[in-house]
């Protein structure tokens, strides 16, 4: 690696620690630590949402998929995100805000029952720690690939950098550093796009070459009989179930909006994030397509992005692009640490041990952040030995999405669904998804069918069980005419 690239990388790490540490001052209560004292403006939250959303899989995996299949990969950012983000912004975020909750499990606990809250918090926590370990491992592998650092050293350095600001500064430090990291990512994307188009002789020449080489690479959808991403599955599974479940129910994403200084800032932050999301393909799809048009000689599609960094970008800019990849991973890790600590501190501890004290919550939250980060650091080097298991586990975790979305939609938009119906829908819906998945059905269709099942189950069981009193539901459900 060139000295200039190394300087850019070290400069970035120093800047992140400095910004994070500076923002860390003034954390005195659990509300400051977990919700930044409800003081954040919409644009900081919007950038932080994008930072949390983009991870290593997006950067390396999406570029690789774009190299292999083309623009269809962008659907994960467009039809697979934008409609859900608009609905989250206008319908769900105001409801969560009005309920005054810290987390999605807390909202479900108030809307259904404490059993539902505990179950959802346990699933979110386990998946959160697992995702953290994977992100930590991916970051270490990236450092090994570009800098030659052993995996253990990479895990230690990246863990320490994140620990410095996320444990002391909580959500406030996490969102400010995320915003900086996303700005770097978009800066890099613009530079890569500019250099790529210049290399090809302009945008129209680039499109002409791509069309001549493979016309299907410019199609946003793949045929209905495609084995991995059939367009029917993308619209029904991704567009109608998986994406809304993520943007309406992901604790890591929505915790930021709950930290906004007003309800309008919370809604505007998600809308701003959706605007930025429209341009995310420039970041993660374009390098893959560029490598394809430039006829990169690579062994597998996932090498598309490293090939672009090595062959298209000049010294200094390649270091900055590397920084953008580190930033994507770091923002996933710091957000995951804060979110998981929140759910253990408030949702699991409060339900199991009936304990709630603001000063204790702050101390426990900080201690848990350190523990969670340490567990993820210890587990990270073992991820590579899991082989294909971690993909299977991730699939297993996503089985939860269909029933979860049904609970959130009917719970927030209607008053008739009952606590008992919610619990049993969750208990039966997840195993049903498991059976469908193991029968060999495409994951996208599993998500759609389990969602439909959960809607029917929740509605049917609610007719035989007792709903919450109307005065309790007023603050927890959508009211069309409410001002």
């Amino acid at each position: 690696m060139h000295l200039l690239d190394l300087t850019v990388i070290l400069g970035y790490l120093g800047l992140i620690v400095l910004v994070g540490f500076r923002v860390s001052r003034g954390v005195k209560t659990a509300k400051d630590f977990f919700l930044a004292g409800r003081s954040l403006p919409w644009w900081i939250i919007g950038l932080s949402i994008i930072g949390t959303n983009i991870d290593s899989n997006n950067y390396v995996g999406a570029s690789g998929n774009a190299y292999a299949t083309g623009l269809a990969q962008a659907n994960f950012e467009w039809i697979g995100a934008i409609p859900a983000m608009i609905i989250a912004s206008l319908i769900f975020i105001p409801i969560y805000w009005k309920a005054g909750v810290y987390s999605i499990p807390e909202y479900l606990g108030r809307r259904y029952s404490q059993s539902v809250r505990l179950l959802v918090a346990l699933i979110f926590t386990l998946s959160g720690i697992f995702v953290l370990s994977i992100a930590m491992y991916a970051l270490a592998i990236t450092l090994e690939t570009y800098l030659g650092w052993p995996v253990v050293v990479g895990v230690l350095v990246s863990g320490l950098v994140v620990a410095v600001y996320s444990i002391s500064g909580g959500l406030s430090a996490v969102t400010f550093t995320d915003a900086l990291q996303v700005s770097i990512m978009f800066g890099c994307a613009i530079i890569v796009a500019y250099l790529g188009f210049m290399e090809m002789g302009g945008i129209s020449e680039f499109l002409n070459r791509l069309e001549a080489k493979s016309p299907t690479h410019l199609n946003p959808y793949l045929p209905a009989n495609h084995p991995d991403f059939p367009w029917t599955g993308v619209i029904l599974g991704l567009g109608i179930v998986l994406s809304p479940a993520y943007w309406i129910g992901s604790q890591a994403i929505l915790q930021r909006t709950l930290a906004a200084k007003s309800q309008w800032d919370a809604s505007a932050s998600m809308m701003f994030a959706a605007m930025a999301k429209t341009f995310v393909p420039l970041l993660i799809i374009f390098p893959g397509i560029l490598a394809f048009v430039m006829e990169a000689q690579i062994e597998n599609p996932d090498m598309a992005l490293p090939w672009v960094i090595k062959n298209v970008l000049p010294v200094g800019v390649s270091g900055l692009m590397f920084v953008a990849i580190i930033a994507a991973l770091q923002s996933t890790i710091d957000s995951g640490v804060n979110t998981t600590a929140l759910m253990i501190t408030r949702d699991i501890r409060q339900v199991l041990f009936k304990q709630s004290d603001d000063k204790d919550d702050l101390k426990i939250g900080r201690a848990l952040s350190l523990c969670i980060l340490t567990i993820a650091m210890i587990a990270a080097p073992f991820i590579e030995h899991l082989g294909g298991i971690y993909i299977a586990v991730q699939n297993m975790l996503s089985l939860f999405q269909g029933p979860m979305l049904a609970l959130l939609c009917l719970g927030a938009l209607t008053k008739f669904v009952t606590p008992q119906a919610g619990l049993w829908t969750l208990i039966t819906g997840v195993p049903l998804s498991g059976v469908l998945l193991f029968s060999g059905m495409n994951m996208l269709f599993v998500a759609f069918i389990s969602f439909c099942y959960a809607l029917v189950c929740l509605t049917t069981l609610s007719y035989w069980t007792k709903p919450l009193p109307l005065n309790e539901l007023h603050q927890l459900t959508f009211n069309w005419k409410e001002t």
Binding site: I82, L90, P220, Y221, N225, M275, E482
Partner: protein, 66 residues
């Protein structure tokens, strides 16, 4: 049934996407102003305008690449 789904024409995907975004546009404007206004009350703080710009951008993308 599976065979029928597997043979659906590819062009339909773009039309469905465009249709979904048009429906979303009308839905956004059904929401009352009181739900979307900022404390400042400025015109551009109405986030239905932001949503409309976003939907227009998506319609342009899917129309261009169809």
């Amino acid at each position: 049934m599976a065979n029928l789904v597997n043979n659906l024409p590819l062009e339909l995907a773009n039309w469905i996407s465009l249709g979904l975004f048009v429906l979303l546009f009308f839905f956004v404007w059904l929401l009352p102003f009181s739900r979307v206004r900022a404390p400042s009350g400025k015109t551009f703080s109405d986030i239905r305008i932001w949503a409309s710009a976003l939907i227009a951008c998506q319609l342009a993308l899917y129309a261009f690449f169809s």
